[in-house]
């Protein structure tokens, strides 16, 4: 072959090669993690709702696709339910060890079906017999209360039904999908509370779905509406009560009243069949007549509901109280032992308060043990117990507040104002010496914005966490410079729940509490003690955590619990300038004609004996106290007395006057007094000279007192007290009272209580602790005299 031929030969070969290689293409290979499914939880779900399932395992690997073609996006692993035909589930959450996917409403009943996970790299794993679709709901939902919320505001709701298991998830089915409710709390198998988030599309009513951890679910159709306009709010109802023989005209003050209608709601949340006539209404005020007698409404506590008829949004005022004509409270109702104090306390103080979500709480502060007897504790407590009340006043379970007082306090006084609780005076030991160092301290009822917000929780292989479901919370401990909660712990975050495989670790990250992100000193991490635990039982697993991420590789839990809703921030010493330390004093909050509020510390024991000193301090707008001013007008020297503040709200008869009554007590610790004195509050907080009431109370000390609806009640105590309740009616604007009358056999308290605590909240008078014993056949096993844990209440 000559050279030309060679060139030609090579040239053709060159061309052929070009064409061949263009046609050449091998098949692609995609390698990467292999998914492994260990378990699917829950293992069943009702076909009537969308069900979220958690697939635990390893090797779940999303990839970023189209990086060069753009736009880059994430391709998630696929999850297939092995029905016929197969259903590709919507994957909503992915970690390396857990997938969450939604089995759609209407999935064919049957199974158990297989679950298959396919990574984008094509590798897959299948768990046979993994998930069953059931035909019938095993949760019954009967009610959500309230049944609406404003789109611009979070709404606390209570869900009633049956079959709840701790801790369900709850959803609203809106047109765009399922909206998960926040802070779902398991109260019992018939009751949940939750928070509907803001920002949900106006409309509805939307279906409510509740799903138990085991996958059983229930639905309440057309349960919850979201309104365009703000709902009405009632700030005040005056009068707030009536007796069964009255048809009172009431003035309702508030906001956002639009085409209002008024109804009464009973404790079963049923509307009382009674037409309430509205004589006039504006956006902030309603005048109406409630025909209590006309409708034959029986005594009890009712919610007064104002309904805006434009969107049927409403507000329930808790509570409008209907009493017996004689205003005799009773009968007293003992609260179940599960709702008693955690420990017996005598010489405690009881106050009530609300948090920013308008949930109501009682606070049992300090006190002492049984010791050597009545008024003589051996151990004095520095802690506070907290309990939540439901809208009809039912008492929940008490918890010890994690933030304790600076000082143990026995026979102190306390008041609550604008979310601050002030504790004043008392003694810390068994001597007669009052607390001189930090005699006054205060703490704030924690608001929801003190809680961190968990933003992610991820499980990873490696660690000592056992397989199962774990509950986590995070709380923030603030810097000492943070005025509202100096060095104290805030509320814990919403619970986050994660299911892990064997030997796992969990990493959580969170945002700082909105109230003051820069004021956080460190964080605390709480977790359930064991897998598949119970909601709300988390204990401390890590303290002093800096940063906003934490990995739990299976740390051992301690015994400390997080601060629950209604918890108090750190106590701090408050202005004591001018204050004369003493214990056994009585403390009330009152206001002058300018509506400036003052704290009054009345009488007490100053270490050397009974004193009649009366002091007051102004409450400033930031919650701080002004200097203490000693009034030139003293009472009869005494301690273990009671006092009440009276104005036109709790005693319309006094008109524009503001009075303080000081009742009973002792001058020597032995002999109870009958002294009953009254003074009026002057502009600027000063009190006028005390005058003796013509009608004195029966001899009593260590007594409790409240003022309601023109009546003053003297309860319990000793000598003339015990378990007795007497009342006197205020009969003139000068504050004079009629004879003190025994309120009747039905009004006797269940327990005798000396130095107990009392609080008036809505329709109920609560009695808590004290020294005594059960005096009623209502007690299945009568107790001996001791520092009491018991709680009782009465509709007044």
């Amino acid at each position: 072959m000559n050279l030309d031929a060679k060139i030609i030969y090579k040239g053709r070969f060159f061309l052929i090669f070009f064409i061949v290689v263009l046609l050449f293409e091998c098949s692609k290979k995609f390698s990467g993690p292999y998914p492994e499914i260990e378990s699917v939880s829950p293992s069943r779900g009702w076909t009537g709702v969308d069900n979220t399932i958690r697939i635990s395992g390893s090797g779940f690997s999303p990839v970023v696709k189209d990086v060069l073609e753009g736009p880059a996006s994430v391709e998630l692993p696929q999850v297939i339910l092995g029905t016929d035909p197969e259903i590709f589930l919507n994957v909503v959450k992915v970690s390396q060890n857990e997938l969450q996917a939604i089995v759609p409403k209407g999935a064919p009943v049957g199974g158990p079906y297989s679950i298959t996970v396919i990574n984008p790299n094509g590798h897959s794993d299948t768990l046979e017999n993994a998930y069953e679709v059931t035909a019938n709901p095993l949760i019954t939902l009967t009610k959500i209360y309230p049944n609406f919320g404003w789109t611009q505001e979070r709404t606390i709701v209570y869900i009633s039904g049956s079959g709840f298991i701790s801790t369900p998830e709850a959803y609203l089915e809106v047109p765009t999908g399922m909206v998960k409710l926040e802070k779902v709390a398991f109260i019992n198998s018939n009751s949940l509370s939750a928070v509907v988030p803001s920002g949900i599309s106006v409309g509805g009513p939307y279906d409510l779905v509740v799903i138990n951890p085991d996958g059983n679910a229930g639905i309440l159709e057309k349960a919850f509406a979201v309104t365009q306009n703000p709902p009405p709010v009632i700030d005040d109802v005056n009068p707030g009560s009536a007796n069964t023989q009255q048809n009172p005209q009431v003035k309702i003050k508030g906001n956002n009243f639009r085409q209002p209608r008024l109804v009464l709601i009973d404790s079963n949340y049923n509307e009382v069949p009674c037409e309430i006539t509205i004589s006039s209404s504006t956006e902030t005020e309603i005048d109406a007549t409630i025909p209590v007698q006309g409708c034959g409404i029986s005594a009890g506590a009712y919610l007064l509901r104002v309904i805006n008829q434009d969107e049927n949004s409403y507000y329930d005022w808790s509570a409008f109280v209907i009493t017996n004509p004689a205003s005799n409270p009773g009968p007293w109702q003992p609260v179940g032992e599960s709702s008693w104090l955690k420990r017996g306390r005598q010489g405690l103080v009881l106050v009530s308060g609300k948090n920013d979500m308008k949930q109501t709480f009682l606070y049992a502060i300090g006190g002492g043990d049984s010791g050597t007897g009545k008024g003589s504790p051996s151990q004095i407590y520095d802690d506070v117990e907290v309990v939540q009340l439901d809208p009809f006043g039912e008492v929940g379970e008490w918890r010890i507040n994690s933030n304790k007082m600076k000082k143990p306090r026995f026979a102190a006084g306390a008041v609550q104002h604008n979310g601050w609780i002030y504790v004043i005076g008392g003694r810390s030991d068994t001597t007669d010496s009052p607390i001189n160092d930090c005699p006054i301290e205060k703490a704030k009822i924690l608001t929801s914005d003190t809680a961190p917000v968990i933003k992610s929780i991820v499980a990873t292989p490696g660690g000592n966490l056992k397989k199962g479901t774990w509950y986590y919370r995070v709380s923030a401990v603030m810097k000492p410079t943070f005025a509202d909660n100096p060095g104290g712990e805030g509320l814990a975050s919403d619970e986050e729940i994660i299911t892990v495989g064997e030997n796992a670790s969990v990493t959580i990250s969170w945002d700082p509490p909105p109230v003051a992100p820069s004021e956080v000193a460190f964080y605390r991490i709480y977790r359930t003690d064991s897998p598949n635990g119970v909601s709300g039982t988390e204990h401390l697993i890590a303290d002093n955590v800096t940063g906003t991420t934490f990995t739990d590789d299976g740390k051992s839990p301690g015994t400390q619990s997080y601060v629950p809703n209604g918890g108090l921030g750190a106590f701090k010493c408050e202005n004591q300038k001018g204050f004369i330390p003493r214990w056994g004093l009585s403390v009330v909050i009152g206001h002058d004609e300018n509506n400036d509020y003052y704290i009054y510390a009345i009488g007490g024991h100053d270490g050397s004996g009974a004193t009649g000193v009366v002091q007051y301090a102004k409450i400033n707008s930031d919650g701080s106290l002004g200097d203490w001013i000693t009034s030139s007008n003293s009472i009869t020297a005494r301690y273990f007395l009671a006092s009440v503040f009276v104005d036109s709200k709790n005693a319309p008869i006094v008109e524009m006057n503001n009075y303080i009554y000081a009742l009973g007590g002792t001058s020597n610790g032995i002999q109870p007094l009958t002294d009953s004195q009254i003074t009026s509050i002057q502009r600027g907080g000063a009190v006028s000279s005390w005058s003796n009431l013509t009608k004195k109370i029966p001899q009593n000390m260590g007594l409790l007192s409240v003022a309601i609806d023109n009546f003053i009640f003297d309860m319990c105590g000793t000598s003339g007290g015990g378990n007795k309740v007497v009342s006197a009616k205020i009969i003139s604007s000068s504050g004079e009272v009629e004879n003190w009358n025994a309120a009747g056999e039905a009004a006797a308290t269940v327990f005798s209580r000396f130095l107990g605590g009392t609080a008036l909240e809505s329709a109920y008078i609560y009695l808590v602790g004290g020294y005594g014993k059960c005096s009623s056949n209502l007690c299945s096993s009568p107790t001996s005299d001791e520092a009491l844990r018991s709680v009782e209440k009465v509709i007044w």
Binding site: R12, F14, V21, G32, P62, V63, K65, K455
Partner: protein, 219 residues
């Protein structure tokens, strides 16, 4: 689609090459013995240095990838055609580039970073027409085709996923040689068409220009 276009383009180009370069010069069509002798003479003259070997390095600017680089080892045979020289040879190289970014996906907990690294090992047959401007400067244009082993490795979500395949491609080099005796320097601008369709890359071309420089010798 891109692949079809490339094939069509190449077929047309092949026909042109066939007619213009070889059909006229085919053994049966050579009529002039004088011309034949002249060619042989030229060939013999050129055949003194008609093998070459070349090493080059360069940077590439394929769409989407940042910081790509590569190097090639080339070798082949050069023959004269009229006033031109035609080089045919093989090119084997290694290219690598990466792309970093982040994606925002609520299902994985929000924004998360990723890194995609694409590497390739091409084996190309190339044809280059060299214009003999003078003894030193030798501009050229060319075309090449071959196969490339492509690997895409993505690090994301704590995992590494890898895709591989053999794929065909085509390239269009242009530039100039600079001859200094038996040595030569190279400056080349190369346009490469290399389609890929990995999940991670998406259906796209690793197409783009590259600038290379290198040196070698002829023997």
């Amino acid at each position: 689609m891109v692949r079809s276009k490339v094939i069509f383009f190449f077929l047309v180009l092949s026909l042109i090459f066939s007619k213009s370069l070889f059909a006229e010069k085919g053994g049966r069509e050579i009529k002039s013995q004088a011309k034949k002798r002249e060619i042989v003479k030229k060939s013999q003259k050129i055949q003194k240095n008609n093998f070459y070997i070349l090493l080059d390095i360069g940077v590439l600017f394929p769409s989407g990838l940042e910081g790509s680089f590569g190097f090639d080892l080339r070798g082949g045979y050069e023959i004269p055609i009229k006033s031109l020289n035609l080089r045919t040879g093989l090119r084997m190289g290694f290219y690598r580039g990466s792309e970093e970014g982040s994606v925002d996906e609520p299902a994985i907990g929000g924004k998360m970073p990723y890194k995609l690294t694409v590497s390739g090992v091409p084996l190309f047959l190339e044809g280059i027409l060299i214009f003999n401007v003078n003894k030193i400067i030798k501009p050229f244009i060319g075309i090449g085709s071959g196969i490339t082993y492509i690997k895409s490795e993505e690090n994301f979500f704590g995992y590494s996923n890898e895709e591989t395949k053999w794929n065909s491609g085509v390239e269009f080099p242009a530039g100039s040689f600079f001859h200094i005796k038996s040595f030569e320097l190279l400056f080349e601008l190369r346009y490469t068409l290399l389609p890929v369709d990995f999940v991670t890359t998406g259906s796209t071309d690793l197409t783009g220009f590259g600038i290379f420089t290198g040196g070698g010798f002829r023997f």
